[in-house]
């Protein structure tokens, strides 16, 4: 009696458990396998010859000296690659008819280079060292052309052209609007204008990009290992550009050392290395170094906003309008999603009755931009949050109150915005309680007591400030993600997915979901991701989508497998399917565990025995494949507050406290989610205070080492206090919302607000990030001059 009760307890919940990651033991022993670790017999190494000019004609490329360099096997230029490629130009990712033709980068530039770092030749040698020797010995005769560094200048009619082939530097312009801004602004009690700048930075995963390609001439097939966030797209693109069938291209993403957007693109270098392997009939490896990452991996966030807000006397938003210029860089490898996301993200969690934005996507002679963690949302959020702080300041209202008056209330959920997302669907905030998030965080950080703390600090000569900001992010983008769940005759459960692991803990999260549906523990489960041989299609890792989309596919597939196993067991045990449960590797009669069938036996049966019938009505294989398609995006939200201290003499900003609340719906693994939020916040802190990708007026990048371009380090980051609210999303069967990018989005806004607050005596208003000390001291000095000498404490 006692024992029956014990075994009949439901298996422990896997979803929601703080499971330790199945990825970790290997990585902790130094036994990960990253792309740089892939070794093959006869492996050759590539090094790219990159343009030192932001804009130039390539007159001639002299490869003779390079070919004489010991170890060099070949030097390939655009002309050589053209022999083996169907086209020299990369296909356009996220194509839209709104874009002109001929805008994508070349695999190798044939005659004109348009940014510093654009590759013109590829040297192949027996080692990385000799390949670099060879690259240094390639002599390229360039004819420099005028370059455009600033996207605002790019729009001037007198501006030089970024690429000779383009009609002008405007890639595209579009207008987003609803309501009647003209009317709203005409009748508004208050109108305030802000000019804002968000600076471009890099993604900077600590592992750069890299690829190994091995062409097997006998099989006419190519094996590829790449540090990518999109294995299937890479497979399809390489197949298309090399004129091979998809079946002949096998892509594996080994362990990936972070992505953050930088690897959600098929890069020219990847196609060049695949082509080189085919031309030479040898395996070829290219591992990006950091210097290359600085000049040739994607960047994001350079945007200039000129916006106005109309408000009533109580600080209620009547309308937002203005214009934004987005720096696209020299080419467009992947649509205009950063600009579009930014433009549609402005209204965020707020009710904005009238909106109008003109967006100019301008080309410059800098490396191209696609989403970095946050994907336009940090920019849009910065705009809105700065405007609301301005309203509060001018109307002498509490910043929290201004937000409270404008937030979409929980009672209005789901709230349909009069805006459409990239896929053309109305933006629908599906769930959440934004005000509750705000109130909780402000309570934790003791906002109510802050004025007194601030006063005391001032008396001690210290300038402290508190700032906060909201964010919402559409997550779980479609069109689908793939999952196959299979139980083999060994009893091991394999989950295969087109979703991509880049360090987030995807394997563990998916294993937890499958384990829950199959009544087992995550130790029974293997997860295969990023391998095009494991599943036929996949979309990959971007837009904080994978737990939502792949997670849902895994859940549904695992449930199907569960159902299949019970149907077979029902026939074997002659009981009803409904009386059976799957747990611990067996299908058992509920409450009668001695009546059971092991899953291994069912798996063996469903594998089929030559010449015999399968069990009836279930089909072959104890497995199921699901391509779950989201109908709508799941909107995650966050509210962050931070306390800073600013030293007016040096412009140094110290973060004293950081409290973040995130609502990502149901949490599959709270530890993993917290880790993602920590990383996201710190990325945002980088954008707020440190990461400055400097270019000179000729578009020469000048911050191309980690000594010049500063990533946040452990000593600048306070202990982060992370809280969760869990409002399950009805958009997917798990009730989850994406996580990865959400933590990044409100950070620049919250920090800017805190710095304003700390420097209120100086009238400092932050309008651009990063807030570097030099710029901040300038602002303080300007404020100083405005103040009477008696007030100046410095």
């Amino acid at each position: 009696m006692h024992s029956t009760a014990a075994v009949s307890e439901p298996p422990p919940r896997q979803i929601g458990a703080r499971a330790r990651r199945i990825e970790d033991p290997r990585l902790l022993r130094g036994r990960g396998r990253f792309v740089a670790d892939v070794e093959l017999p006869g492996l050759l190494h590539g090094a790219f010859v990159r343009s030192p000019h932001a804009h130039a004609l390539v007159r001639t490329i002299d490869v003779d000296d390079a070919l004489r360099t010991p170890g060099v096997v070949a030097v390939l230029t655009a002309r050589d690659l053209a022999r083996t490629l169907t086209t020299l130009r990369m296909p356009l990712g996220f194509p839209t008819s709104a874009l002109p033709p001929d805008i994508t980068p070349f695999v190798l530039a044939p005659e004109e280079v348009c940014f510093v770092g654009e590759a013109v030749a590829l040297v192949i040698a027996t080692s990385r060292y000799t390949a670099e020797d060879g690259a240094a010995a390639v002599f390229v005769d360039y004819e420099p052309l005028p370059a455009v560094a600033d996207c605002r200048d790019a729009l001037e009619p007198t501006s030089p052209k970024v690429r000779r082939e383009a009609a002008d530097n405007v890639l595209t312009k579009f207008n987003l609007s609803y309501g009647d801004c003209a009317d709203a602004f005409r009748h508004a009690a208050h109108v305030f204008r802000e000019e804002l700048h968000q600076h471009r930075g890099g993604a900077h995963p600590i592992e750069g990009r890299g690829i190994v390609a091995n062409f097997d001439a006998q099989a006419d097939a190519l094996s590829v290992w790449s540090s990518t966030q999109m294995s299937h797209e890479l497979q399809f693109t390489i197949a298309e550009m090399l004129g091979l069938s998809e079946q002949s291209v096998h892509v594996v993403a080994p362990d990936v050392g972070g992505g953050f957007g930088a690897k959600y693109l098929v890069y020219p270098e990847e196609v060049a290395i695949a082509a080189a392997s085919r031309l030479l009939g040898r395996p070829v490896k290219w591992i990006e170094d950091r210097a290359e990452h600085f000049v040739s991996a994607i960047q994001e966030r350079d945007q200039y906003w000129d916006v106005e807000i109309a408000a009533d006397a109580q600080g209620r938003i009547l309308g937002v309008r203005g214009r934004m210029i987005h720096d696209q860089g020299a080419y467009t490898p992947q649509g205009i999603n950063c600009a579009y996301n930014a433009a549609t993200a402005v209204t965020g969690p707020y009710v904005v009755p009238n909106y109008e934005l003109d967006v100019f996507v301008a080309q410059t002679n800098k490396v191209f931009t696609i989403p970095v963690r946050g994907a336009g949302y940090p920019e849009g959020t910065f705009t809105m949050e700065r405007l609301l702080d301005r309203v509060a300041h001018e109307l002498q209202l509490d910043r929290a109150l201004v937000r409270e008056r404008n937030l979409v209330p929980a009672s209005a959920m789901p709230y349909v915005k009069p805006l459409r997302n990239r896929a053309g669907h109305p933006i629908t905030l599906d769930s959440g309680d934004y005000l509750a998030c705000q109130q909780k965080v402000l309570e934790v950080i003791d906002y109510a007591g802050f004025a007194a703390r601030q006063r005391r600090a001032r008396e001690e000569g210290r300038h402290i400030g508190l700032g906060f900001a909201h964010a919402v992010k559409g997550t779980g983008r479609g069109p689908f993600e793939s999952a196959n769940v299979k139980i083999g005759p060994s009893g091991r459960i394999t989950v295969s997915t087109g979703a991509m692991a880049m360090g987030q803990g995807l394997a563990t999260a998916l294993a937890q979901i499958a384990a829950e549906a199959l009544g087992t523990d995550i130790d029974a489960i293997d997860v295969v991701s990023g391998d095009t041989a494991a599943i036929s299609m996949g979309i990959g890792g971007f837009a904080s989508r994978q737990t939502v989309t792949a997670g849902s596919s895994v859940l549904l597939a695992a449930r199907e497998v569960n159902e299949k196993a019970r149907k077979v067991a029902a026939q074997m045990l002659e009981v009803s399917v409904d009386d059976l449960v799957v747990r611990d590797g067996r299908v058992e009669v509920r409450g009668v565990p001695q009546m059971s069938v092991p899953l291994t036996r069912i798996a063996r049966l469903l594998r089929g025995i030559a010449g015999y019938d399968l069990p009836k009505g279930v089909g072959a294989g104890l497995e199921a494949t699901v391509f779950w398609e989201p109908e709508a995006m799941a909107y995650a939200n966050a509210f962050h507050a931070c306390e800073v201290e600013v030293d007016p003499a040096t412009g140094g900003v110290t973060l004293l406290r950081y409290v973040a609340m995130q609502d990502s719906g149901t949490l599959v693994n709270p530890s993993i989610v917290e880790g993602q939020v920590h990383g996201g916040i710190v990325h945002g802190i980088g954008n707020a205070l440190f990461e400055y990708m400097r270019y000179d007026d000729d578009a020469q990048p000048i911050s191309t080492t980690f000594a010049d371009y500063l990533l946040p380090t452990s000593t600048e980051i306070p202990h982060l206090e992370v809280l969760f609210m869990e409002s399950p999303s009805a958009t997917n069967p798990l009730g989850v919302k994406g996580v990865g990018e959400v933590g990044t989005i409100p950070v620049t806004s919250a920090v800017a607000s805190a710095v304003d607050d700390a420097l209120r005596d100086y009238g400092v208003r932050i309008a651009a990030v990063p807030i570097d000390p030099v710029r901040l001291v300038e602002l303080i000095d300007r404020g100083d001059r405005r103040r009477s000498p008696a007030q100046t404490a410095r």
Partner: protein, 165 residues
Amino acid sequence: MTTSSESNALSLTLDVNGKACEATVEPRTTLADCLRNELHLTGTHLGCEHGVCGACTVLVDGRTARSCLMLAAQAEGCRVTTIEGLSGEGELEPLQQAFWDRHGLQCGFCTPGVLMTLTELLRDEPNANEDAIRLALSGHLCRCTGYQNIVAAALSAVECIRRRP
């Protein structure tokens, strides 16, 4: 070390993780490349190759060193310890275990270097507090974790070592 006149190659004998290892490299070969490419110890990672990110950190005679900034030839006669030498195939060291328990890693690319630095710290300062840990970590870049769980893992390793008989 012996120099072969023809190819300018050096034959080195290195003491890595307690084993004598032979490698033939060009004089310019960094310790990191020698470990990775010649000795196939690929747990040592390269994140910047200019001495800032700390991913390549190993112990040389017990002190942390950036193996991207050091020539393989300079390591002759020294004891080199890499991530593979921490626990080998045996049970995880308390520090590694703490990283697993406290979710101290995400992509794991920075992790080997971080573990080497913390190994040195916990040896020299077995009672290291959060400030000391953050200071030691300030020579490492991690883009995934925001450092928080690295710090938490290090603190829990301190605790675990303290409680050890």
